[in-house]
């Protein structure tokens, strides 16, 4: 079942009065349960594409339909509510809220959604346990390592069971061990909870785990390869 559908999406920035086409006429569909990576060199437009899919930015033209809703037609406030209900984000720099503990950060979106405390508590504890941070739930981000913070960010994104998760260079600041741990966690959650993951990355370790690799060059999709599960699992 298709949950993301882009048709003729273009994003043009006007830098110093010179128009730059970061994304040019992209058509793309992503199905439920996919574990896909958008790859490409720096400046190819993969982060812009991810931002457009996540409703963080507006396309210059084209339509982006998420689960039947064309998010390009939504007003900024409606888009924020849409993101809250449908999309999980994992950012390169972890981006946890510094004044909240790991437990509170993980439950943050659920609390915004108004999930009942008991249900929230159960889900947060379960996820922190799954990402191996059950013993650090009362620590604030400043007391956690980069890898631990990114695991909390993944738990936060997964907690409200979003339609899909957008991860922009989630492993860029992590060492090899932390990267492997994080990718294993995400792959497991993708399987167990059928959560769709879409990465923007140029980390080959992520690409090797992906079951679909979308290559972006100069704002266009240059290739779109689907791997067999065994291929992805063994890189």
């Amino acid at each position: 079942m298709t949950i993301i559908e882009l048709k003729g999406v273009t994003k043009t920035f006007n830098a110093a009065a010179v128009p730059i086409n970061a994304v040019q006429g992209v058509d793309l569909t992503v199905d439920e349960g996919e574990f896909a990576a958008i790859v490409g060199p720096s400046g190819s437009g993969k982060t812009t594409l991810l931002n457009l899919i996540g409703g963080l930015d507006e396309p210059t033209s084209g339509s982006i339909v998420i689960g039947g809703t064309d998010i390009t037609r939504l007003r900024p406030g409606e888009r924020t509510r849409f993101r809250l209900r449908n999309i999980g984000f994992v950012f390169q720099s972890y981006n946890l809220i510094p004044v909240l503990t790991a437990y509170e950060n993980t439950g943050f979106i659920m609390e915004l959604q108004g999930t009942l405390p008991a249900e929230r508590d159960r889900r947060v504890r379960q996820l922190l346990d799954e990402v191996g941070l059950a013993d650090r739930m009362n620590s604030r981000p400043s007391r956690l390592s980069g890898g631990q913070q990114q695991r909390v960010a993944v738990a936060r994104a997964l907690a409200p069971r979003p339609r899909f998760i957008l991860a922009d260079e989630p492993t860029a600041n992590l060492d090899s061990h932390s990267t492997e741990t994080l990718l294993d966690i995400m792959a497991r959650l993708n399987k167990e909870e059928n959560t769709t993951f879409l990465f923007a990355t140029h980390d080959q370790r992520v690409v090797k785990k992906a079951r679909r690799v979308i290559t972006v060059e100069d704002g266009r999709i240059a290739s779109d390869q689907r791997m067999r599960e065994e291929q992805a699992a063994h890189g």
Partner: protein, 407 residues
Amino acid sequence: MKLIFRMAWRNIWRNRRRTIITMLSIVLAIVLSIIMRSMQLGSYGKMINDVVGTYTGHIQVHQKGYWNDKTINSTFAASDSLIGMIESVAGVAFVVPRLESFALAAGAERSRGSFVVGIAPEKEHALSGLRKRVIKGDYLTTGDSGALVAGGLARFLKLGVGDTIVLLGQGYHGVSAAGAFRIKGIVHFASPELDRSFVYLDLATAQALFSAEQRLTSAVVEPRGRAATETIARMLRSLLDGRTFEVLTWREMLPELVQQIQGDNVGGIIMLAILYLVVAFGIFGTILMMTNERIREFGIVNAVGFSCGRLAVMAAVETAMLSLLSALAGSALALPVVLYFNLHPIRLTGEAAKAMINFGVEPVLPFLLDWRLFLVQILIVIAVTAVTMLYPFSLLGTLKPVSAMRR
């Protein structure tokens, strides 16, 4: 909302030193402004009480035109129904009748112009505490044929208790007024002007002296509380025939006192405005830093679904907590100071004291203890804070998560 409050509270303490410095500046401003305003308003209250309470009263009813041209001919018939009608107005505590005129007061050797007031002794005491001003002899009784003479006048005329004072003047409709009265008591006024001119007679005695039987120059109307003055005056104006009577409040009778208070008050308000302007810049500086250093964070939380509206509420709650806590702490610190000087007013000496005495005011500065004084300062801080909040509000109103996260 619970989440917003929790985050706001923790955000305040992210930079403890900055928060404490900002709070201290607000606390200091609140303490200074409360003490300053308490002293100012307390002294105004004292001035009003002294001047109004010594003689004028809060409201007076006269024959139309009397206040601008005080002659014995501008009297009105004091019928029981008229006095009863005035007393029946809601909020009126009591009515004090007076017959006032000028006369030459003379002793055996000297004479001087004096202000003669016919009074109902008990009501007059209830209004102005006149009995307490008696420093020698006794106070008047109803129907008394004696006189109370102000100390300065008695000294000038070289008269004492038991001596006779002669009053010579013009009575109602040109009839000559002359009488000799045994001095029953000497009264003292702080104001030299009053102390060298006042002579009190019983009302009936004064009416007989000025051939103005059953007539009054003024009916002093005392409200149950000062706040009701204007309302009662309005009601009296609607009740009494405006072509015959005038109803004046103390503000209208004593414009120079009102102007003095207003002038001083404006000075105080300007001082406060400067103080709060400094505080506003302090608060704004903190808000500016708290906002700018967190733009990226605002972008992140907005990206994950925390709306700009919620962010604005959180920013407002943070600032409100900061300013309210400071305002409450400042009020708590100022309270014992205000309380102490309310109970133990500052007693002035030297030239300042003389100036106040000349104005008919006791030279003390009592502090006003009124919850509204504290509330006003807290509201000012909230208002100042609300203005400084425009910056984060305008920034959050145009927040774009992608560009905010690039910071």
